[in-house]
């Protein structure tokens, strides 16, 4: 591929006691692609996401994002560079309204927050982009509802809206359809499909329908290692992958 990778991970390693959660992981995510990471439970997907987002320090290896070594940067700094994420377990500001949630994400990337006097809720420069982010995920009409009172699926959408409100260059999605009903999850997949090409996405997901619908490339993780990377059709046909993860009846 001609484009330089947005995300370039080399020999990333992380050990928890006796468990090698990340075992010399190499991963390249190119601009505009949706790159899915699949693998059985305990394969180390969440540990990988944690290191990519900056919540976990790798023991070894290098993470380059937009041609910058970000290995030692913390999560807020990476967010400022354009890396946004959603969490596996819904993570929102429950007492604040949906619009407040999104407006905070806008605020973090627009001007200083060491402003002590003017009410943040009266700043149109925060509210309008936040409203747009909510509308893009279909929550426009729910903006005044406290995030805690949104339905589970709506909270997942809100998380995506918050990530989008930071105008990211790379979106890390940690199981975005987990715990959703069939309807909700199909709606979410359709929505994520509309982002394809516009935003580079790293998608960790167990739902194989979602993965094979969305992914341009898939990396398969087993025991902290990436054992295969390729387009969906190729990964589906890979014998090793089938044995390790998909099961014989998966095709």
């Amino acid at each position: 591929m001609l484009t330089r990778p947005v995300l370039d991970v080399r020999a990333l390693s992380k050990r928890f006691g006796g468990l090698q959660a990340s075992d010399r992981i190499d991963l390249e995510v190119v601009s505009g692609e949706t790159h899915a990471i699949i693998g059985p439970n305990g394969a180390g997907k969440t540990t990988l996401i944690g290191q990519l987002a900056g919540d976990l320090r790798p023991d070894d290896g290098v993470i380059r994002f937009m041609d910058r070594d970000v290995t030692r940067l913390d999560a807020p700094s990476r967010s400022q560079l354009g890396l946004a994420r959603s969490f596996q377990i819904t993570s929102i500001f429950p007492e604040l309204s949906a619009l407040d949630n999104a407006a905070l994400a806008v605020q973090a990337h627009r001007g200083s927050s060491f402003r002590f006097w003017r009410p943040a809720r009266e700043e149109r420069a925060l509210r309008e982009p936040a409203q747009k982010a909510l509308e893009s995920v279909g929550l426009g009409a729910r903006r005044e509802v406290a995030a805690a009172n949104l339905a589970h699926g709506e909270q997942r959408q809100l998380e995506i809206a918050m990530a989008l409100a930071t105008e990211p260059r790379l979106l890390l999605l940690d199981e975005p359809v987990a715990g959703m009903g069939l309807d909700e999850s199909q709606r979410m997949v359709r929505f994520l499909a509309t982002l394809k090409g516009r935003i580079t996405i790293v998608l960790v997901e167990h739902d194989m329908d979602a993965v094979f619908t969305l992914a341009d490339r898939i990396s398969v993780m087993v025991y902290g290692r990436i054992i295969a990377t390729g387009p969906p059709a190729e990964v589906r046909g890979n014998v090793e992958v089938r044995r390790a993860y998909l099961g014989e009846d998966a095709c």
């Binding site: 807020p76 946004a84 969490f87 002590f116």
Partner: protein
């Protein structure tokens, strides 16, 4: 009546009542009440400052009385050496408390939960023992304030009602500024960090610096309350910094309602009023006070202000 309206009415009525205390005390010839309510408002200032970090920031600082003591000594020590200029003393009180809060905050904010509570408590106790070791300034007996702060012009703290209205004015200013603050960009970040710190960091806020700033602001404000308290009691002792005093301030916040700013004012008034009334009835007044506090905590989770104002606004 909406909760918003109800809150405004309660606040307005409370403000008018507090403003009427001096004339009523004068008419009824009960100067004691002027003294009592002035004391309540000084503690209210400290409680409101704690609410800023406790109620809005989720920082359970169990050493808030330390700043009361620093503020008091920032008045008492200069006065002992003949410096009675109030602007100098209050400026010193605010600056010294801010500096100490910066050090305490920078260290204790690296921890959270129980460890944060313990570290802030330990720092405050350290300062308490430092106060005891200040032999020149009375050691553990404390010392009489040589003279009240002098501001010149019409502000004469020797005039009980002038002093009273100065304290009231500071309290009102603090509440107005506090309302602005918690709704500002800065306030929203602090609240977001309380609600969900990993999320706040993930969207790009380096939460630590916002929390530390709030911690310093709260400490500086409590230092101001300490300076007023020294003028109020005209006597200062290390007891101002004792951990039981920190607990009392925290109780005012919880009793009145955390995260409401006005609640802690009601909490301070209610707690000191209860103390006053009950201690007149019996020497064992704390036996009665305890259960009352427990009942409030159990049945009014948002405190007395929550009971009065109804549904949560904001």
């Amino acid at each position: 009546m909406t909760a918003d309206r109800r809150r405004d009415v309660i606040v307005a009525v409370g403000g008018v009542l507090l403003a009427l205390v001096p004339p009523i005390a004068a008419l009824t010839d009960q100067p004691f009440y002027l003294d009592l309510f002035r004391r309540m408002m000084i503690f209210a200032i400290a409680a409101v400052s704690l609410d800023l970090i406790l109620g809005y920031g989720g920082m359970v600082s169990f050493g808030h009385a330390a700043y009361l003591g620093i503020g008091a000594y920032a008045v008492g020590i200069p006065a002992y050496h003949g410096i009675t200029n109030g602007f100098v003393q209050l400026g010193l009180a605010v600056a010294a408390s801010a500096l100490v809060a910066l050090v305490i905050g920078a260290i204790s904010l690296r921890t959270s939960g129980v460890y944060f509570i313990m570290i802030t408590l330990a720092f405050a106790q350290m300062l308490y023992y430092l106060g005891i070791s200040l032999e020149t300034y009375g050691g553990d007996n404390g010392m009489r304030l040589a003279a009240r702060s002098r501001f010149g012009g019409p502000i004469d703290l020797a005039q009980p009602s002038t002093f009273y209205y100065l304290v009231l004015a500071i309290l009102v200013l603090l509440l107005v500024a506090g309302r602005r603050l918690v709704a500002s960009r800065f306030g929203m970040v602090v609240r977001a960090a309380k609600a969900n710190e990993p999320r706040a960091r993930a969207i790009g806020f380096s939460t630590a610096r916002y929390k530390l700033t709030a911690f310093v602001m709260a400490g500086a404000t409590a230092g101001l309350a300490g300076a007023l308290l020294a003028n109020q009691t005209e006597y200062l002792t290390p007891d101002f910094m004792h951990w039981t005093r920190s607990g009392e301030i925290m109780f005012m916040v919880i009793l009145g309602g955390m995260g409401s700013l006005f609640g802690p004012v009601i909490g301070a008034v209610a707690l000191l009023l209860l103390e006053d009334v009950l201690s007149a009835m019996t020497a064992h007044w704390q036996i009665i006070l305890g259960p009352i506090l427990i009942l409030v905590v159990l049945f009014a989770k948002r405190g007395l202000f929550g009971l009065l104002a109804g549904a949560r606004v904001d």
